[in-house]
Symmetry: C2
Subunit: 429 residues, 2 copies
């Protein structure tokens, strides 16, 4: 071993967020809250491996605009034959594969939530994550799924987001059948491109949208009709030109009726989602004062989840919280300074007191407190300062010298009171 050991000074990797313990603590509380709400509606949890066979990810055969990371074994030997593996880029493909693979072992409607990291191998660029956490809920059924579940999704998301410390938000809902019905009626051929243009309505001016539609061969009359629909604030004002539009309007009305008690859940016919995957209800969620931040929670109804993997009709509806984007926007305001989960730090007066201090700590723990025993018999002021730096709210002072009583100090106020460790609880203090 030489003293001149080479030091590799680590740098953050672009796109891979990492938090200090006091921020991670808040992140855990957010994730706990989300889990609690999802479970309170009877959603079970699943977790799938971080990787899928590349064939699974490619099975959809869509234009893959997701950037995919494939794995290579560093020490791969020549001639090793194995499936190529890729990190999942969302939780929908793994869900579809999971349902296809375990179909006979699942009970339908299958209601599951899933909170995992996903990876996108994009070029590194500011503000884009390459690793991020998504919190998804989906309900899948065989053959058909009642529309009432389309209304349950935003209700759950409303409850989740209302419990987080975030700025005012708005859940916007539409039904793709309305716009697609109109495009049918107008005999527009390249519907996918047109819906993708309308999907940009939040970011672009009306003029730019018209220009883009024109470039895609939509004439002025059709273009204004499409734009009028997308921007129409009143469902009753929309004339259903065909059955598809009619169906979309009725479905959307049904969903909105069930959500009428939630003022920040609104119908918005410009919501179409870029993906052809969705066939009915679609959702987006915006910050009211910062819609340009984009949707923090999106999803919708699909007719056909897993037909790439199994010969069954499996309609579903789902919604996904872009957790990392949401948390990253807020995290600087969320640092409470509380690093340690400990409720109380037990002071160690001397090495001779260790057994007694350890017993106090154990008893306090049995009472339901999280307890740290200070690691060394250092000066009292140093131990206090440690509690302060770690944000531990109480300090337990066992007797020392001639004293016989135990005292507990509340760090926020400096107050000290006598207490009995046999029945003390931080929650009551």
């Amino acid at each position: 071993m030489s003293d001149k050991k080479k030091i590799y000074k680590p740098k953050p990797i672009s796109g891979y967020p990492e938090w200090l313990p006091q921020v991670r603590r808040v992140e855990q509380q957010w994730l706990d809250h989300i889990r609690e709400v999802f479970e309170s509606y009877g959603f079970c949890n699943i977790e799938t491996p971080a990787v899928e066979a590349l064939e699974v990810i490619a099975a959809k055969g869509e234009d893959v605009d997701k950037e995919i990371y494939v794995l290579e074994r560093l020490q791969k030997e020549e001639g090793d034959k194995e499936a190529r593996l890729a990190l999942h880029f969302d939780q929908t493909v793994p869900l579809a594969r999971y349902v296809g693979q375990h179909f006979n072992d699942l009970v339908f409607p299958f209601k599951r939530y899933q909170t995992q990291k996903v990876w996108r191998g994009e070029r590194p660029q500011a503000g884009r994550f390459r690793e991020f956490t998504q919190c998804d809920i989906d309900v899948i059924n065989v053959d058909n799924l009642p529309l009432s579940l389309d209304a349950e999704m935003p209700k759950i998301i409303h409850e989740v987001l209302s419990g987080l410390d975030i700025p005012p938000f708005e859940i916007r809902i539409s039904n793709r059948k309305i716009l697609l019905g109109l495009l049918d009626y107008l005999e527009v051929r390249n519907k996918t491109e047109v819906t993708r243009i309308i999907d940009k309505i939040e970011k672009l001016s009306e003029d730019s949208i018209e220009q883009l539609l024109k470039e895609h061969g939509i004439d002025e009359a059709d273009s204004s009709e499409i734009l009028w629909l997308a921007l129409c604030p009143d469902l009753d004002a929309v004339f259903p030109h065909n059955e598809m539009m009619q169906e979309g309007l009725e479905e959307l009305q049904f969903v909105m009726d069930q959500l009428s008690h939630l003022p920040n859940v609104v119908a918005d016919l410009s919501i179409v989602r870029g993906l052809d995957y969705y066939t009915g209800t679609v959702y987006e969620t915006m910050f009211v004062d910062d819609p340009s931040y984009g949707s923090i929670c999106s999803g919708g109804r699909y007719d056909d989840l897993a037909s790439s993997y199994i010969n069954k009709k499996l309609p579903g509806v789902g919604i996904s919280i872009g957790f990392s984007r949401l948390f990253a926007k807020m995290h600087t305001q969320l640092d409470t300074g509380r690093i340690s989960p400990a409720d109380v730090l037990v002071i160690l007066n001397s090495e001779d007191d260790r057994a007694a201090a350890s017993e106090i700590a154990d008893t306090l723990r049995k009472n339901g407190n999280a307890v740290e025993l200070y690691h060394a018999p250092q000066k009292f002021s140093k131990q206090l300062s440690y509690a302060e730096k770690k944000g531990i709210p109480f300090v337990w002072m066992p007797p020392f010298g001639d004293t016989v009583e135990h005292k507990v100090k509340t760090m926020a106020t400096g107050d000290q009171v006598e207490a009995d460790y046999k029945d003390w609880k931080a929650a009551d203090a």
Copy 2:
């Protein structure tokens, strides 16, 4: 869309475990329990990205016997220059990098727990995981760290494992200074190889160990002295030939004295761990009736965590639960049949009753119950059978027809009683 769509029938990927919801539910309970115990000792949580720069993983310069997965972007363009990224194969390297990178923002002693997946790109083979979860705790300090923390680690692990539904286990503790001191005294040169041979003592016969030692140039007299030490059941019987042995024996005695109240924590001088990384106390944990399963929880003391990344002396002590191996061994016995987290299923008598049923579900949820509202007004027997299949313990029956009272049915017994949804709690029922 053609009806003859190609179906890719998904298969499990060797080494990547995945559970059905009812097993995942138990896995979550285990992970919750582990988190609760870790936090009750004041350990904070961190999470690091799944990837590190390849230089970071390679910085230790040790013989890398871990198989590493590197990432390749599927759509990488020519000329893209970026750091090569690799999936972490443990949580110790990321911890060292994290401490080096965030040193100025951390409060020491830094006590952290970390529960994440890690990946090893091994050749696929039966019983070997390539993705698995580890639960680590470590305490790191600057310059020095009291030995009492070496005793706290197995105490915590004892509490964790005692709370899980697993067969009897035994935590075995030694101190590497004892064996290394003896090897010094015997002037053995290839200590690393010899410790790795002793590390196999659980799996091989005494004869095989002697044979291996002989092959590594250890003569018969030395070989028996080494074996005698490794198998010696009594610390007091060991004669300290030098200071290092003396120190090791004293440290081990100190640790064992603090754990004397735990009968299944034992000193075992054959425990050395294969890694040169450890410098003092070392731990392994075996099933009493199946030691050949190998260690389910291991760790030890190290002098120097992060000197590859920062010019500081950072000693620490840590222990890691091989969660996936432990859980996978048990999982077939752990299926409780409870798929849904819902405490109660609310029956939907008819579409007209939906608003009322939904209000009942909401109120029950506000009372602290997890509640599923059945999705469609199907036959009562079908709704009951759904509750049974998902393992939902109670069924709420709102009034129907001429009845006015609400009833709740306990699925396990079939009992039905009148109840008021405004204050009903599953926990009390």
